[in-house]
């Protein structure tokens, strides 16, 4: 674990100190490769031993290992994609070298914070790490230095700061299970869970509400979602991929950890009902807005909110729903990153993120368009891809105990599909603009989303045994 952090710190320093663009890009990709290799090794170790704790300060369980692996796959794809994406933007005089350097420094700091949040064994340290992800990404959202980008970044900074402070308050309340905290006592997630029986049920409920609001803000549950479409639409596309594909599950694992503690103290019904409420509201609001979306990057942001809602429902339904939800989390992260990369290609070609300005994309950028359409089909649960099965399993798990919720969720998911489909037909078919250059910009802008598509396709039909073990162990715990 320390190796991952050290590698990323060195890469951030190299990016800050070295003035040769090629060297910075090379080290970023190498670092992402090393991180992926390490994450793979950790995942294998956890699948054998059940958890991994190299030091008292770090602890990775099965779900943590899955998220670590997914985040590192997306980080590598983002590192490779960023090279050509930023080069094309430099060629268009959108950004200069100073911005590129700033981008790589912040990207690596963001990765450090994200990996620390996944592996931190202390809830407060995990909170500090999550807060650090906000700080490192604020300047990435205002990256293009336009008024709209500044506005989006400000909104992101303020809403997330308030949300996370409330999350911090909730986190502190869980510590009331310890009768007296000695000055140097290390409170781990495990000791907090072990002490949960001493936690006042009412305090546990209040604490969970604050934790859910706090980390739910980071996830983007409705009504704390307002920063998300703005931030996603203004950030460079590889950052959108990381925010949606990697950071969202990291915040989710925090809520699940607190949920486990709350359930011990106050019973499972309270957290279940709250998650169902936030989940259904998120699916409903996102689906309604998606139908009338005008910007395809905002469309992806709302799709992210919708899928966060689906995952909240899946985790609250329990049983088979949890297994399906963990799979859904993996598929959703990978496909969302793939869609952000494909939309980046559209943005580079059309120089617009507005849906009405994108016409005949299938003729202009055929591979990108195929990838985007494939991503749309996967994301909306089109068979035979994995999300079709996971959505069906989540809904059927809910159908037994919460039929009305499941039917409502299914209706809104159908609406989301219809809305997305409407935009897809408008963007990819029809007459292309006459003055637009035809063809893909670079193979390096195609390879990362294509690799992700291959991974998702394989995982839709075959789950490696170590991953299956990790998912099964995570189901038992969450």
């Amino acid at each position: 674990m320390l190796f991952i952090i050290t590698t990323l710190i060195i890469t951030a320093l190299i990016s800050a100190l070295i003035k040769r663009r090629g060297v910075i890009e090379f080290f970023s990709v190498i670092a992402a490769l090393i991180v992926l290799f390490e994450a793979g090794a950790i995942a294998l170790k956890v699948s054998v031993s059940g958890d991994y704790s190299p030091f008292i300060y770090f602890y990775i369980d099965s779900l943590g290992a899955i998220i670590l692996l997914v985040a590192s796959v997306i980080s590598l794809a983002a590192a490779v994609y960023s090279i050509q994406y930023l080069r094309q933007e430099t060629a268009k005089n959108i950004i200069g070298f100073a911005r590129v350097r700033q981008y790589y420094v912040l990207l690596n700091i963001f990765s450090i914070a994200m990996f620390l949040a996944i592996t931190a064994n202390n809830p407060i340290f995990a909170w500090i790490s999550i807060e650090a992800t906000t700080l490192s990404t604020a300047f990435l959202i205002s990256f293009y230095n336009k008024p709209s980008a500044i506005e989006a970044a400000w909104k992101y900074l303020i809403i997330n700061a308030v949300g996370l402070l409330l999350g911090f308050f909730g986190t502190l309340l869980y510590f009331t299970s310890f009768t007296l905290l000695s000055e140097n006592e290390f409170v781990s997630w495990q000791s907090l869970a072990a002490n949960a029986v001493h936690l006042d049920p009412l305090i546990a409920k209040v604490a969970f509400i604050f934790a859910l609001i706090g980390y739910g803000t980071k996830i983007g549950f409705v009504p704390m979602h307002t920063w998300k479409p703005d931030a996603y639409s203004k950030a460079p596309n590889p950052i959108g991929a990381l925010l949606s594909g990697a950071l969202l599950p990291v915040a989710f694992i925090m809520i699940l950890k607190f949920r486990g503690i709350t359930d011990i103290a106050a019973g499972p019904e309270f957290s279940r009902h709250l998650l169902i409420g936030f989940g259904l509201l998120s699916v409903a609001v996102a689906a309604l807005i998606m139908f009338n979306a005008k910007n395809y990057k905002r469309l992806l942001a709302y799709s992210s909110i919708e899928n966060a809602g689906v995952m909240a429902l899946g985790f609250s339904f329990g049983g088979l729903g949890v297994f399906a939800t963990i799979l859904h989390l993996i598929y959703n992260s990978l496909v969302k990153a793939m869609l952000f990369f494909s939309s980046g290609n559209l943005l580079l070609r059309y120089s617009s993120a507005k849906i009405k300005n994108i016409k005949g994309a299938i003729d202009v950028v055929p591979i990108t368009s195929t990838l985007f359409i494939a991503g749309f089909l996967i994301l909306t649960g089109f068979p035979p891809f994995g999300i079709f099965l996971t959505k069906m399993q989540i809904l059927s798990a809910g159908m037994q105990a919460y039929p009305a919720v499941s039917v409502a969720a299914l209706s809104f998911m159908t609406l989301a599909f219809a809305g997305f489909f409407k935009h897809i037909t408008s963007m990819f078919f029809g007459e292309k603009p006459k003055d637009i250059e035809i063809g893909e910009s670079s193979i390096w802008l195609i390879l990362p989303p294509m690799m992700l598509l291959i991974i998702i396709s394989i995982l839709s039909f075959y789950i490696p045994s170590f991953l299956l073990t990790l998912i099964n162990n995570a189901v038992l715990r969450y």
Binding site: N122, I124, F125, I128, E131, A132, L135, A138, F139, S142, N145, K146, P147, S148, I150, E151, A152, A153, W154, K155, L157, I158, A161, V162, L165, L166, F168, F169, L172, L173, F175, T176, L180, L181, E183, N184, E185, F186, D200, L202, I203, V206, D230, K294, N295, R298, K354
Partner: protein, 215 residues
């Protein structure tokens, strides 16, 4: 330090939050935040004298340097640079603001929040005052239209949560507390950079002038 002295310090903190709601001048809001932070510094100093722990000593020093000296200095420089002497208006007028303050204070003291204010029964009065400060700080962030006021509101919310944690016996290890303070210092630096960017692009610190994200 006896309970009455602690209660007095907490009352000053609570008073500064109310003052933040009423004041129309940014400079006085910054001074109020500085005073609020100083009270927290004194409470931590009390812990240091009781334990004589070096790490707590470092934490006291950091609190005073960052929250009492540097943060107000940063904010004052921002006010001077952008000539933002007067805070931007609120969404609610002063009488309505005061009514909401009274309601929030009442809610914090109500039975609904008794589980929180009874974490340490002996500190019930102190905890309900700290909880009121949390609610009022949250309301300050929502009610103010100025970017600077929002920053001060968030810093005040953090102070209120810290003071609640102290009186509820939920203080974290000094290492973690140093981490939290450092985190907020970085947040403050970033937020002040953004305030300058907002002024550069919008010519005002009024966040209601930012209307570029309609689509």
């Amino acid at each position: 330090m006896n309970i009455l002295t602690l209660q007095f310090l907490l009352e000053i903190i609570f008073g500064t939050v109310i003052f933040l709601h009423i004041t129309k001048k940014n400079f006085w809001a910054v001074i109020a935040y500085g005073v609020q932070s100083l009270m927290i510094g004194i409470i931590f100093l009390n812990s240091f004298f009781e334990t004589v722990n070096v790490y707590i000593g470092i934490m006291v020093l950091l609190t005073i340097i960052i929250k009492v000296i540097l943060a107000p200095l940063f904010l004052t420089r921002l006010i001077k640079r952008h000539l933002a002497m007067f805070s931007v208006s609120t969404y609610l007028n002063t009488p309505l603001t005061l009514i909401i303050i009274a309601i929030l204070t009442f809610i914090a003291r109500s039975q609904k929040f008794a589980p929180l204010t009874n974490i340490i029964p002996a500190n019930q009065a102190l905890l309900s005052l700290a909880l009121s400060a949390i609610f009022l700080s949250l309301f300050l962030i929502i009610n103010r239209k100025g970017a600077l006021s929002q920053i001060i509101g968030i810093l005040s919310l953090e102070n209120s949560i810290v003071v609640f944690a102290v009186f509820a016996g939920l203080e974290q290890s000094p290492a973690l507390q140093i981490g939290i303070i450092s985190n907020f210092f970085i947040w403050l630096i970033i937020a002040t950079v953004f305030v300058s960017m907002i002024f550069k692009h919008f010519g005002s610190l009024d966040i209601t002038t930012m209307k570029n994200l309609k689509d």
